[in-house]
Symmetry: C2
Amino acid sequence: MVKRLDERSAWPDHIGWRLWEASRTWQREFVAEMRKAGHPWFTDARATLMGHIARRGTRQADLIERMGITKQAVQQLIDGLEAEGVLARMPDPRDRRGRIVVHTEKGLSALRDSNDVKKKIEERYRRLLGEERFKALSDALKHLLPATEKDPDKTSA
Amino acid sequence: MVKRLDERSAWPDHIGWRLWEASRTWQREFVAEMRKAGHPWFTDARATLMGHIARRGTRQADLIERMGITKQAVQQLIDGLEAEGVLARMPDPRDRRGRIVVHTEKGLSALRDSNDVKKKIEERYRRLLGEERFKALSDALKHLLPATEKDPDKTSA
DNA sequence: ATTGATAGTCAAGATACTTGACTTATAGGT
DNA sequence: ACCTATAAGTCAAGTATCTTGACTATCAAT
């Protein structure tokens, strides 16, 4: 029964809000840099998907499992990236139901650039925070993730 | 069944990805808890908007400025929340163009619950990480935010 | 040979945004 | 007072990223 919220501004400030703000800021920067680097099709959802595709290619079914979204969402993201010429779908020689998603040359080039961009932004963050705080942040997040990811129920429709 | 993750070379792991994962996990938990607590209309976008409304009400124009999204987006979020009976729009006595958005009783009740839920989740995270790491995380994020938020150009359409 | 699970597709809908085109009210010169 | 640029808000339409539901093709195990 406490009425102690500030009158003028109820600005949120808790760990979840900070995570959300930081995450959004990072993504905005990342996408903006990638577009500047000559990849105008770049978005963060697409980047996430591409990051889950191995060099030799990955089956759609594995992407579903790894990304924790529905197969339809994965399919639509791939559709878009295929239309951009960034990914290609190959038949799976071991299972005629399956399709293997591979990077095209264009996709690999974007991946290379994305590594540079990520490093650049991380470097900036490292300078902003100082080595110690940056490490602490990275470390805390690393401990948080395995502990909170327990959703073994998002594989099919 | 053993999972074939032998070619998982391209798993993303950088600070941005960790932030994104942590942020998404937090949001999922938060929304789920709030719905369980009797607020089925709850989403994270709506929560964000509500968090920016002061006790005495806030003009839409101010929300636009604070949230960094377009006025149309704000309007649509308010439309939805008004239809749910969570917010109400009042005329601004000092400017007949303006409208002041206020919480209804229902909205205030949700805000109270949301504080409890946030505290509960934060408590869990604190236990997961340990006091020291939790503080380090919180502190690092706090230092990150003011330094990275410099987008003074998203006010109108 | 049948049957049930798995891989993928097609269609439609929800959410959270966007840009563009307007209306109305205010504020600042002249 | 008048005129105009700007600000506050609305209406309409479109985009990106997801969802559920219904379907086909293939495989694997009886």
